[in-house]
């Protein structure tokens, strides 16, 4: 597993196969928290962290528990369990350790478990048969990509606040069309790296 390949993996996961614009995951959050820049940023930070850690955790579980026991068919239950458990504990720990940070980012933790990326990453890792490092890289890439998407979208939507968008399009519709146009721009990356 050479370094270049890892790098490619991260880039591919974050930009070329960007979760939001080319894999359509995490849309609820994507449209949910991008109305204001600060929420978007908060979510990005929390998200990238959670993404990597849960990727790692579920990889371990998958490799050392599920495969040996041959219960891979329970992967959905187990992964959601792992993620939920981790998020829960993260919540409690944060609250104890740094209430300030919890005040800033805690709210997003709650949202995360009902976001499909968080469960998609372990599933994809399992499907692609990535090794530990690759899984981490993939988690990181996905997280960064999602963060990128959130921040771009937030900055655009803040600008749209000032525009007089036709009434039926206000709110979500124009956001979807914005997403459409960003996705269009992102096809420019297609064919860049093939995984």
């Amino acid at each position: 597993m050479d370094f270049g390949k890892l790098f490619e993996l991260v880039i591919a996961a974050s930009v070329i196969n960007n979760f939001v614009f080319t894999r359509f995951l995490g849309l609820c959050i994507f449209f949910g928290v991008t109305k204001k820049m600060d929420t978007a940023v908060g979510m990005s930070i929390t998200f990238t962290a959670v993404m990597m850690i849960s990727a790692a955790l579920s990889w371990v579980v998958f490799k050392y528990i599920m495969i040996p026991l041959d219960i891979t068919f329970l992967k959905i239950i187990i992964f959601i369990g792992v993620v939920a458990a981790f998020v829960q504990s993260a919540d409690t720990i944060m609250r104890k350790v740094s209430p300030g940070m919890y005040f800033k980012l805690g709210v997003y933790l709650a949202l995360i478990t009902t976001n499909c990326i968080i469960i998609a990453v372990p599933l994809i890792n399992a499907g692609e048969g990535y090794n530990f490092i690759e899984s981490l890289a993939f988690g990181l890439g996905s997280g960064l990509g999602f963060a990128l998407a959130l921040i771009i979208m937030a900055s655009i939507r803040e600008k749209l606040e000032l525009a007089d968008v036709p009434r039926p399009f206000r709110g979500l519709p124009i956001s979807f069309i914005t997403a459409a146009l960003i996705a269009l721009a992102f096809t420019g990356f297609s064919g860049l790296i093939t995984l």
Partner: protein, 207 residues
């Protein structure tokens, strides 16, 4: 949800009033991911109906005995369980479709909508109405997906359910990510317009 409503009302509410995608704007991912054709959209919808109904039923069944402290985890367990069931079943019996939308079937486990209904409705109502609520929600979801899929497949492939309809050059873009976002955006706008124009609503769906 507190006041009792007839089954029909419950279903109608699921399809129009609280349509998961166009009104609540949750569980959006599949609305784009699996709508490149109505076939996939349809299978996805079926899967969601199944899960939603079964989850609602089982939650409402155990709502009395369940201990409040472990309510949430138990719900998740139930959802995950039913999702696994439909996942394996489709993998076995609907292979062609499953090959394309398998990942998203598994992702049903994370749908806010499923959990929300279990939490908000099923855990407070008796089984039949819970089932109806689930059915309504599910159908609403299915209808939305098929609608989106209809436009995307027709414009993007000039076909429906894989059968060629139009023979001129289709707009590839409609079956690409961009097209998905476009389709949903414009449909939402359309429903907002109807809402504003005919029901004096304020449009601005969801967020």
């Amino acid at each position: 949800m507190i006041k009792q409503r007839s089954n029909w009302e419950l279903i109608k509410n699921g399809i129009f009033g609280e349509n998961t995608i166009f009104r609540m704007a949750i569980s959006l991912c599949p609305s784009i991911a699996v709508t490149t054709g109505i076939r996939n959209a349809f299978y996805m919808g079926i899967a969601v109906i199944f899960v939603q109904v079964m989850v609602n039923v089982s939650v409402s069944a155990i709502r009395k005995i369940i201990h409040p402290r472990i309510r949430i985890p138990i719900f998740m367990l139930i959802i995950a369980g039913w999702v696994s069931v439909i996942d394996m079943t489709m993998a076995a019996f609907a292979r062609p479709a499953y090959k394309e939308i398998g990942l998203y079937i598994q992702l049903i486990v994370a749908f806010a909508s499923i959990f929300a209904r279990a939490e908000v409705f099923a855990s407070k109502n008796k089984m039949t109405s819970s089932a109806m609520d689930g059915l309504g929600m599910g159908i609403g979801f299915l209808v939305a997906l098929v609608l989106i899929g209809f436009f995307r497949e027709l414009l993007g492939k000039g076909a429906l359910w894989g059968m060629p309809i139009i023979h001129s050059k289709p707009m590839l873009i409609m079956i690409m990510p961009t097209g998905g976002f476009f389709a949903v955006g414009f449909l939402m706008a359309f429903f907002n317009w109807i809402d504003i124009r005919f029901f004096g609503g304020k449009g601005a769906s969801g967020v």
